[in-house]
Amino acid sequence: MRFSKGILALLCSALAVASGGAAASSPARTKPASPPPVATLSDKPLSERVVAYQIDARFDATRHTLDATEVLTYRNLTGKPQDTFPFHLYLNAFNPTSTFMKEERRDSSGFEWKDKYKASAEVKSLEVVGMGDLTSQLKFISPDDGNPDDRTVFQVKLPRPVAPNESVQFKIAFHDQFGEVVARTGYSQNFMMGAQWFPKVGVWWQGAWNCHQFHATTEFFADFGTYDVKLTVPQNEVVGASGVQVGEIKNSDGTKTLTFRGEDIHDFAWTAQPDYNVFESDFNGSMGKVKIRLLMQPGHTSQADRHMRIMQKTMKRFDEWYGPYPYKQITVVDPGDLRAGGMEYPMLITGATTWWMPDGLRLVEQAVEHEFGHQYWYAMVATNEFEDAWLDEGINSYVECKVLDDIFGKDKSAMDLWRITESDISQRRNGYRSALDFDPMARFAYQYINESSWGNVTYGKSATVLYTLEKVIGEETLKRALRTYFMRYRFRHPTKEDFLKTVEEVSGQNLRWFYDQAVYGTNVLDYEIFRAGSGRLDWYLQKPPEEKKGETRYRTMVLVHRKGDFIFPVDVLIKFDNGESVTEHWDGKDRWVRYSYDKKAMLISAEIDPEHAVLLDKNFFNNSYVREEDTAAKWKIVNYWTWVTQMLSQCLAWLA
C-alpha cells in the first residue's frame, strides 16, 4: 500500500464512512463537522461541500451489474425552503428511445443501435430521513425536450420543505445494469468504466434547479462535496477511482471492498480491469506532492513513460501558469475501449492510445493533456457544461494548445511525422472554419444545429477566439486573466459573464465589442488584400524615361477589404523593393481601406496581420499579396495530385 498519509486521517475517514448510517438517522441543522482532509493537500475544506455522498456498491463483473445503497446528505444553501429535488440518472440514456440516443442517431446516421449497448439505472427505493419512504413519489421529467421516454432525470417532492441551511438526507437503493460502452461508461471485454452510475442531485443555480437531461452533446454539472465510496469487486480486479483509496478489505466470498474518499469534488467515477498494469510517480507541485497513478492496458505498457512524461510536463505548466493542483492524487486511465477514452472526471481522467501510436502523432499527448486540463476547467472551476460548454472545453482547448506549443514547438504540437507538421491550434482552427456561422459559442450545448457544429464551435472556435483575444490584450495578460479566473472561481460555478468580466478586469479594457461578435454572435472574420500594385507616376508621358531602380517614382496602392461581418482592427505590413516597409493600422470599421504611397520603389508585398495572430480570420491565403508570383506551392500540390491519380490509375489498370 502506498497510501501512508497518517493513521489519524485514515481513522477519521473510516469513521466518517462508518458513521454514514448513523448520521442518516436524523436531520442535521448545522454544517457537518469536516474531518481533516484526506484527499486534498489543503488543511481545510476547499469548497462549500453542498453534498456528501456515502455509497456502498457491489459490482458483479460477470453480469456487469451493480447494487448499491447511497446516502446523500444535502445542505440547503439555496436561501429558500426546498421541497422538490431533481436527480440525474444518466445510465438510462443508453436506451434506444432516450433523448441521448435520438440525438446520436439524428447527427450520425451511420450509428446503429445494438442491444448490448442497453444500460439502466433503477431506483429500488428512496427514503428521506424523517419523512419516510418516497419511492412512489418519484417522477421522471424531461425539462429540455419533453421526451416522455427519456428517463435520465427524476424528481422527488418531499412532504415538507427543507429549510434554508438545514440538511436533508436521502437514502437510495439502486441497481445498475451496464451496457457495452458506447460513450464514456460501460464495459468492453474485461474492462469496466463506471461513470454516471449513481443518482446525483441537481444544482440549485441562478435561483432555480439546474438538472438537464442527458444529451449527445452535453456533459455534466453537479455540486461540490465529499464522496465516501465503498466498492466491492472481485479480488482480481485492479481498480482506479476518483478520490484516494483509504481502505481495502478482502472478503471471504472472493471479493474485496475498496474504500475511497473524495473531497471537494463533484462527481465520482471508477474503473476496474483485472490486467491493468499500474505505474506510479510523484509530481512536486506548489501545494505538495501529488501521486500520478497510471493504469495502462497490458499491450500499451511501452507507452507508460510517454503518458508519465506528458503528465509531468503538463502539471508543471498548470502549476506555474494558473495555480496549484490541490488534490493528493490524479489517476490516469488508459481505457480498454477507445469509446471510453478522452474523458474527464474529478481526479480521474481517461486517455486514448493504440499499441502502434508513433511518437510523431501527438494523440496521446493531446488526450492526456486535455483531460488533465479539465481538472482545472471543469473539476475545480465547475462551469455548467450544458449551458456554457465552451467555458470548460473551449478554455481547456486553448490551454491545451498553449501547453503543447510550449512543449513541442508551435508548428509541431499536433504532428511531426515524415516531415509533415501540424500545430494543435491549426487543428482547432480548421474545426472552427468548418462551422463558421451556425451557432454562437454562448448557445446551450444541446441546442446546436448538430453534434459537429457543437464540437467545432465549443472546442475549435473557442480556442481560436482566445488566441485572437491574445492579439487584443496580449498573451501574458490573458494568461494572468486565466490565473485570476481560476483562483477566484475554483470550487464554484461561474458563468460565462464571470469569465468575460475577469478578462476585462485584468486587461483593463472594455472588450464587449469583441465578445458580442465572437462569443454571443456568429460573425465571420475575413480580411483580404483586394488589390495591390505599383504603377509609374509618369504614366501619362508619351515617351517616359527608362525605368531605373531607385530613381523612377511609382504610386503604390493597396486595397484592404473586410469580407466578413466581424469587425476587428488589423495591421497591414507593406514592403517595398528599396527595403522600406510601412505598417498601417486599420480599425476595420468600414468595408475597405485604400493605402497609397508615392515612392521611388515598387511594392514587394502587402500583408494583413503579419504576426498571424488573428486566428479567427477564416482564410489566411487571401491575407497577403506578393508582387512576384510564386507557383511553387501550386505545382507541388498539382504534382502530388498527379502522382496520386497515377497510382489510382495503376491500381485500376491492374484489372485490365
Binding site: 471485454q189 474485461n190 474492462f191 492496458q297 499491450g299 500499451h300 488508459d334 481505457p335 480498454g336 469509446r339 493504440t354 499499441w355 502502434w356 508548428d411 499536433a414 515524415w418 516531415r419 509533415i420 507538421t421 501540424e422 500545430s423 491549426s426 487543428q427 482552427r429 480548421n430 472554419r433 468548418s434 482564410n619 489566411f620 491565403f621 491575407n623 497577403s624 499579396y625 506578393v626 508582387r627 510564386d630 507557383t631 511553387a632 506551392a633 501550386k634 505545382w635 507541388k636 500540390i637 498539382v638 504534382n639 502530388y640 495530385w641 498527379t642 502522382w643 491519380t645 497515377q646 497510382m647 489510382l648 490509375s649 495503376q650 485500376l652 489498370a653 491492374w654 484489372l655 485490365a656
Partner: protein, 313 residues
C-alpha cells in the same frame, strides 16, 4: 523452368517502348485530371505569402485549410481524377492485345501491327474483364468484411493487436486470392493470343486448368516479381519521406520513378507468363509422339505368321 524471369525481363526490356508509352499516357492523363486543381489553386496560392508554408515545409494544417476553403474545395474535383483513371483502364484494356502480341512474336511490331493487335483483342479482353470482375467479388467481400470487423475490434485494447493481425491476415488472403485470379486471367489472355482463341468463356476455363495445374511455379514467378515491386516502392517512399519538403521537385521525381517501376513490374509479369506458356507449347510440340506398345503375348491366341510376299492377294 530455369531462366524464366530473365527471359521475361529480356522480352519486356526488348519492347520497353511500350513501358514509356504507358507511363506517358498515365502521366498525361493524370496531369489533365489536375487541370481543375490547378485552376482552383491559381487564385489562392500564387501571390500569397501563406502559401510558403506549403513549399518551405509541409504544414498539414495550412493544406487542410486551403483544401477545405469554400473558394477552393480541392477534393470536390477528386471525381475528375477518378474519371481519368477509368479512361486509363480502358486504354490499358486496349493496349494489352498489342503488348501480348509483341511478347508472343518476340520481335518489334510495326505500329500498324501493334494497333491492329490491340483492336483485334479488345472485345475479348472486355469479356474477360467482366468475368474477372465477377470472380473478384468474393476476395473483395472478404477484404470488406475483415476491415469492418477488425475496425470494431480495434476499439478494444484487449483485441486491437488481434484485430490488426486479423486485418493483416484477411487482407493477405484477399490479396493472395486476387493475385491468383490475376494470374489465371493473365493466362487466359496469353492463351487467347497464342492459340488465337475467340471463345472467352471456354478460354477462361482452359486457362484455369493450366494455371492451377501449374500453380506453384506460376505463382512463385509472379510473387517474386511482386515482392521486388513492393520493395522498390517502399524504398521510394522512404527516400521521399526523408527528403526536405522544400526539395519537392526531387521528391516528385522519386515518386514518378515508383509509378514507372509499377508499370514495369506488371509488364515483366506478363512477359514471363507469355514465355512460360510458349515454352510449354514448344515442349508439347517437340516431345516425340508416344509409340504404341505392342500388346503382350497372349498364350491363348495363336500367332499366325504373315503370308509370303509373293502370295497373291
Amino acid at each position: 523452368m530455369p531462366g524464366l524471369l530473365r527471359e521475361g525481363f529480356s522480352r519486356a526490356w526488348h519492347y520497353q517502348r511500350v513501358l514509356w508509352f504507358i507511363f506517358f499516357i498515365s502521366f498525361v492523363l493524370s496531369h489533365f485530371s489536375t487541370a481543375p486543381v490547378t485552376h482552383k489553386l491559381e487564385g489562392s496560392t500564387g501571390h500569397s505569402l501563406h502559401a510558403q508554408r506549403l513549399t518551405n515545409m509541409f504544414d498539414y494544417g495550412s493544406f487542410s485549410a486551403l483544401s477545405s476553403d469554400p473558394e477552393v474545395k480541392l477534393f470536390e474535383v477528386a471525381g475528375v481524377s477518378m474519371s481519368y483513371s477509368m479512361v486509363f483502364l480502358v486504354i490499358m484494356l486496349f493496349l494489352t492485345g498489342g503488348i501480348l502480341e509483341a511478347y508472343r512474336s518476340g520481335r518489334r511490331l510495326t505500329t500498324r501491327e501493334f494497333f491492329e493487335a490491340c483492336g483485334s483483342y479488345f472485345w475479348r479482353w472486355v469479356r474477360l474483364f467482366l468475368l474477372m470482375a465477377i470472380v473478384l467479388i468474393p476476395p473483395l467481400s472478404l477484404a470488406y468484411v475483415v476491415g469492418d470487423q477488425s475496425g470494431d475490434m480495434m476499439l478494444n485494447a484487449a483485441q486491437e493487436k488481434t484485430a490488426f493481425w486479423i486485418l493483416l491476415a484477411g487482407l493477405g488472403v484477399a490479396g493472395f486470392l486476387m493475385m491468383c485470379i490475376r494470374l489465371w486471367f493473365d493466362m487466359a489472355q496469353v492463351r487467347a493470343v497464342v492459340e488465337e482463341e475467340t471463345g472467352m468463356w471456354r478460354n477462361a476455363g482452359r486457362a484455369f486448368k493450366i494455371t492451377f495445374g501449374n500453380f506453384r511455379s506460376l505463382f512463385w514467378m509472379y510473387f517474386r516479381i511482386s515482392i521486388l515491386g513492393w520493395l522498390v516502392f517502399a524504398i521510394g517512399l522512404y527516400v521521399w519521406a526523408k527528403m526536405p519538403p522544400a526539395h519537392f521537385r526531387w521528391t516528385i521525381l522519386i515518386l514518378e520513378i515508383t509509378v514507372l517501376w509499377g508499370f514495369w513490374i506488371r509488364l515483366w509479369q506478363r512477359a514471363c507468363e507469355m514465355t512460360w506458356y510458349q515454352r510449354r507449347v514448344l515442349a508439347s510440340i517437340a516431345a516425340p509422339a508416344p509409340i504404341p506398345l505392342a500388346p503382350p503375348p497372349n498364350p491363348l491366341l495363336t500367332i499366325i505368321p504373315p503370308p509370303p510376299a509373293d502370295t497373291p492377294r
